[in-house]
Symmetry: C2
Subunit: 201 residues, 2 copies
């Protein structure tokens, strides 16, 4: 938009919103307008929540989760099994596992997956810190809960190779039919994997 129809404050706000994932210039204008129309109910609370998050939330130095405490609440939580480390690509994966409430060990967030296309190598991820945690002792099993994508599985193989011979079991999540999933809608690879890993009832 031209400088004439919107002031620099508004242009700057729209530029910043357009940098968020999944938003472009057009949707950024829509979001900015939505906010301006709801100054007291949404814009100001969001500005305050952002400022508070920016000031208080930090990356956990142990696992890589985001929290206001250091180390994070999950790392500090008593009664979890320190002997099992669940390795995830990013923080939302950790959140997803915690929502499921099925895992009671500790986490390690890599911060992404190896990707030749995006130029992401082992040094860009929390792989050295994972090896250090394993070498520090006390870990029996490392679960590689990485995405079932090419990059995720490449990363899983790379990490598994690094951990070989360090005295820990390295496991991965099972492939199979999602709970509630219809066979008709599954891809052939998932169906074949589910068939190979069939179990007695």
């Amino acid at each position: 938009m031209s400088q004439r129809s919107a002031g620099p404050e508004l242009l700057r706000l729209i530029d910043l919103i357009a940098k968020l994932p999944g938003l472009g210039p057009r949707s950024a204008r829509r979001v900015a307008l939505h906010l301006l129309k709801r100054n007291d109910t949404l814009l100001k609370p969001l500005a305050e929540a952002l400022a508070e998050a920016g000031a208080k939330i930090q990356k956990c130095q142990v696992c890589g989760n985001f929290d206001t405490v250091q180390p994070c609440a999950v790392c500090q939580m008593p009664g979890r099994d320190d002997g099992i480390l669940c390795v995830v690509e990013d923080v939302p994966d950790l959140w997803a596992l915690e929502r499921g409430d099925a895992f009671r060990g500790r986490y390690h967030v890599l911060g992404g997956a190896l990707s030749a296309i995006d130029g992401i190598g082992p040094e860009d991820l929390g792989i050295a810190s994972l090896v250090a945690r394993v070498e520090a002792g006390g870990v029996r099993e490392v679960i590689l809960a990485l995405n079932a994508t090419v990059d995720g599985q490449t990363t899983a193989h790379y990490v598994a190779d690094l951990l070989a011979g360090k005295g820990v079991d390295v496991t991965r999540l099972a492939h199979g039919v999602p709970v509630g999933g219809e066979l008709d809608h599954l891809d052939d690879g998932t169906l074949a994997a589910a068939l190979r890993s069939r179990r007695g009832v």
Copy 2:
């Protein structure tokens, strides 16, 4: 996500982001994470831009545009024709027309369109203020630059009826082939309208 894996500050931030148009809980988590990873380069600038916009930007009392000055920069701009009012549904439409740089009159933002489904009646829109501007005199023409949707055209008819007999020309945007548009990809209604409004070359 459970209270255990993310603190209340983060949950509140995600809740607020999820209220933005086009975003849901899942994309809100992605946006929040994207922001937390870019604390200094994106999160803090965005928090500041939002706070500044919330404090400074207000609705223009004349036309309904958003700006830091009252009346807005477009209303204050010298050399524009006060005799022509361009009526738009919302502020992004005004911005779009200003980007095109093809209109040198003044604007009037309705703030939406009549909609039986959404329960939006004439009293919810800036229609009374439009009639007041016309009745105050000095306006020769009102251009109804409303969306070519059912709601937009309903609103255009309603406004045109209200302005009938008030001594102003009421016009609407032309229908036709978009510049750069391919005939093959146009809907039949647009093609028919373009044919009916054909011009000598």
